[in-house]
């Protein structure tokens, strides 16, 4: 049944992807730039420009252009970069490593910090610990990634000189070299995410703790720790999983800024470079990729619901 559900969800995601593709395509065509000028440079003659337009299909109507692009997409052909002439797929492949490393470490760090913080705050709602933590989380939510990033850089790289200022080393050049360059970016990127998840964990647990079955567990003689772990957390999981999923969106936007601040050669930087250079095929491919990831995350969240709550069946 679950497999059937997953298949159905993937099928349902396809029209969404197509819609995203069309919107991306249309949005880029609305910007006042001529790709042919970008390719040929400022000094090109009108004849040269025309030749480029014909070769790229830009002389066709916009609907025909869209059709050709979608057709190529369907066969896995994302096109070539206008700037470097390299296939877009290769560009993404070259740059995806740092982004995966950064988002995975931020995600894990968030889970390890946010859920215990939320639990801690929920122990005595309204008391000092709770207020302090929730105050911090408001701060975390309101500080932009680049502010946290530069503050961290000033403190740990420039004043204390504990960590390198910026840059990236792949895992193949040693774990520590890899990890030490990820610490500050991950911290900066996790700030808002931690705040979001900790808040939801707190309120969800507080709500669950008022439920009758928690009282039943107390009447059984269970300790408060056992009640928290066995009964409260699992029942509180659904709203938490929901914001964890929704937070992935903020992670994606955060990646773009964070990679620029810390000079990580990942997909986020590639987005910025492509946008500045009006490299349409690359921008289109990246936006599609990010929305695909987002849809995938939502699917995983929906499947996790069934794991945490046996009442949910699709």
């Amino acid at each position: 049944m679950l497999l059937f559900y997953v298949l159905r969800r993937i099928l349902a995601a396809l029209p969404v992807m197509v819609l995203v593709a069309i919107i991306v395509f249309a949005a880029l065509r609305l910007t006042p730039n001529d790709p042919a000028t970008i390719m040929a440079g400022e000094d090109a003659t009108e004849a040269q420009l025309e030749a480029i337009r014909v070769s790229m299909g830009l002389d066709q109507s916009i609907l025909v252009q869209l059709g050709t692009w979608l057709q190529r997409l369907a066969t896995g052909d994302l096109g070539v970069s206008l700037i470097s002439g390299a296939p877009v797929l290769d560009l993404i492949g070259d740059r995806i490593g740092p982004t995966i490393a950064l988002s995975t470490s931020s995600f894990l760090f968030t889970m390890m910090v946010a859920i215990p913080l939320g639990v801690l705050a929920s122990r005595k709602p309204g008391h000092l610990v709770d207020r302090a933590l929730m105050g911090l989380s408001t701060l975390g939510l309101s500080l932009p990634v680049f502010v946290i990033g530069y503050v961290l850089m000033y403190a740990f790289a420039i004043s204390f000189r504990w960590l390198p200022v910026q840059g990236y080393e792949p895992l193949s050049s040693g774990f520590w070299a890899h990890a030490q360059r990820l610490i500050m970016p991950s911290l900066a990127l996790s700030g808002a995410y931690i705040a979001l998840v900790a808040r939801m964990t707190r309120s969800s647990i507080i709500e669950v703790k008022g439920e009758d079955y928690i009282r039943t567990a107390r009447a059984k003689g269970a300790t408060e720790t056992a009640i928290l772990i066995r009964h409260a957390l699992r029942n509180a999981a659904i709203p938490i999983v929901t914001v964890v999923g929704a937070g992935v969106a903020s992670l994606i936007t955060g990646v773009v800024v964070t990679e620029s601040v810390f000079n990580l050669p990942g997909l986020g930087r590639l987005v910025v470079e492509a946008v500045l250079a009006r490299d349409y095929p690359v921008i289109q491919a990246l936006i599609l990729l990010f929305s695909f990831i987002y849809i995938l995350v939502n699917l995983i969240v929906d499947i996790l619901y069934t794991v945490f709550d046996p009442r949910i069946r699709y």
Partner: protein
């Protein structure tokens, strides 16, 4: 009974002495004053009282389950076999729970963890208190599931709570409470949320196990019918104090305290007084009404629920027609079709000669004026942010009546429902449940309806309040000519107020007739079973004697 057993059964298991509980904080309000209760082994002591009497608070004090943030015990002691549970360490308190004293709850639907299997939840008790290995635990749980008469214990063991019915869940809770054979069982309104036939079975089960294990039972209830059926001793509480204690017969036959007398005599009798049949104009007639819910699903069979099938009824002006049945019998569906919240799948609804199903335009709009409803829960059916007066006149102003004119009418209605005119300027939270129900009735009456549908309108109220609201409804039909469709699960209430009664089961009308005919000489087997399951049906409370 041997002498040894007798000596054991005389043993006092629980003694509450001078218990006082107050809201936390300096000068917090006293909620319990000087409560003394004693429960002996093998004995069921019922604590009865209306809402706010402190009966549940007493139960939770014994289990040590009061929230220390908001409540504290200020005086007294609670001796569980000579051990004062108010002064033991938290660790010891946890040890005592489930092993020496256990609790079963009012709401079986929410008392179990929804995401854990039944078996694991019962096993948890053994994990906490015993050192059995996994296999022994499983065996003990299965044995106990058998002992509470659950069918197919293996399957129940592997089920989740939502896969069981309310009665089955309550059996699971009882199983959990008694698996370690505690000396004291506290039952907090354990059957209030259940249908009468399930209630009867659960009461029998508690009785059976209590005798088998010689358990002392502290049984909290608001229902005197239940008291008749289970109590050995009765403690009557009012506003945080014990007002009277005695054997079951003493309390029910010859209560000394005025409050107890009032409370006992407020319980309606199951035997209706003979009433003259109401004749005259038919205001509402329903012919062959059906409501079938079909849920179509792709690649799976559709589910069909027959909520109401081929129902016929007629209601005269000034008549009170009762529709009784258990949950899921279709009585609320019928009411929702009448007031237009559901569209019937088939059949006709005729209001004073005018067809309502598929009515358009003016007739469609007018039905919402001519048929009014009073809902079950007076705490949620009024908008908390709107003044009572505004809530009442909202209907007429929607139909174009000038505000000032509507407000004048609202004032005169306040008198009819027994509230001061100043009530119109206040907010719903400033009223008690009974007063709110009066407001709801005024809100319905201001539309000058021809039919008033009361859906379990007194079910959430205490008996003494219930009695007054029933009197009010009685006087309203005298004064306004309105026909009343009175939906209830409570046969006593139906006997008290209805001229005629319709009995529904599984969406069908199985019996109808005068209240006397249906409730005293039932012809249908289901009606008989329903009456038979009514707790305390052999007691005439009003006259303090058995029937």
């Amino acid at each position: 009974m041997t002498d040894a057993q007798k000596a054991m059964s005389d043993k006092t298991v629980l003694q509450i002495k001078g218990l006082c509980v107050a809201l936390a904080g300096r000068g917090g309000k006293q909620l319990l004053r000087d409560v003394d209760i004693e429960v002996k082994a093998g004995e069921i002591t019922c604590v009865v009282g209306e809402s706010g009497s402190g009966k549940s608070l007493t139960a939770y004090s014994v289990m040590g389950l009061l929230d220390p943030e908001s409540l504290r015990c200020t005086a007294g002691e609670i001796l569980l076999e000579d051990e004062n549970v108010l002064t033991v360490t938290p660790r010891r308190l946890r040890e005592l729970r489930a092993t020496r004293m256990s609790l079963i709850f009012q709401e079986p639907m929410t008392a179990l963890n929804p995401v854990e299997r039944i078996g694991a939840q019962i096993e948890e008790v053994l994990e906490i208190h015993c050192s059995d290995d996994a296999r022994t635990r499983r065996r003990r749980v299965l044995e106990m599931l058998e002992a509470v008469h659950l069918p197919d214990p293996q399957r129940i063991f592997d089920s989740y709570p939502h896969q069981l019915s309310g009665g089955q869940r309550q059996r699971v809770v009882i199983c959990m409470a008694l698996i370690l054979n505690p000396k004291l069982l506290i039952a907090d309104e354990p059957t209030t949320a259940l249908d009468v036939s399930t209630q009867k079975q659960i009461l029998a089960l508690i009785r059976e196990l209590q005798q088998k294990f010689n358990t002392a039972v502290l049984f909290i209830t608001h229902d005197f019918g239940v008291v008749v059926d289970v109590a050995d001793k009765v403690v009557v509480m009012n506003q945080g104090e014990v007002v009277e204690t005695g054997s079951r017969d003493e309390i029910l036959r010859s209560p000394r305290n005025d409050y107890t007398r009032m409370l006992v005599s407020s319980v309606p009798s199951l035997v209706p007084q003979s009433r003259e049949a109401v004749t005259g104009d038919v205001v509402l007639s329903i012919k062959g009404l059906s409501k079938i819910f079909v849920r179509r699903r792709i690649l799976r069979p559709s589910t069909v629920v027959e909520a109401a099938v081929d129902c016929d009824l007629t209601l005269h002006r000034r008549e009170i027609l009762g529709i009784v049945g258990q949950s899921g019998s279709g009585k609320s569906t019928l009411a929702r079709c009448v007031i237009g919240l559901e569209t019937p799948s088939a059949g006709r609804i005729v209001l004073a000669g005018e067809e309502l199903v598929n009515a358009r335009g003016n007739a469609f709009r007018e039905r919402f004026r001519r048929i009014q409803m009073v809902f079950q829960d007076p705490y949620r059916s009024l908008n908390p942010r709107v003044r009572v007066g505004e809530s009442i006149i909202e209907g007429p102003t929607n139909f174009g009546v000038p505000r000032a004119f509507a407000m004048e009418r609202a004032k005169s209605l306040m008198e009819l429902v027994g509230l001061p005119v100043s009530a119109l300027d206040r907010f719903p939270h400033q009223f008690s449940g009974g007063q709110r129900q009066r407001i709801s009735i005024a809100r319905a009456l201001i539309m000058e309806p021809e039919v008033l549908v009361a859906d379990e309108a007194v079910s959430a109220l205490d008996v003494s309040v219930q009695a007054r609201i029933l009197k009010l409804l009685e006087s309203i039909r005298e004064k306004t000519d309105v026909g009343l469709l009175f939906i209830t699960h409570d046969l006593r209430v139906a006997a008290e107020i209805c001229d005629r009664v319709i009995v529904m089961n599984k969406g069908r009308i199985v019996e109808h007739g005068s209240a006397e005919a249906v409730l005293v000489h039932p012809r249908d087997a289901y009606t008989r079973a329903l009456i038979d399951a009514a707790p305390g049906r052999h007691w005439d409370f009003r006259n303090f004697r058995p029937l």
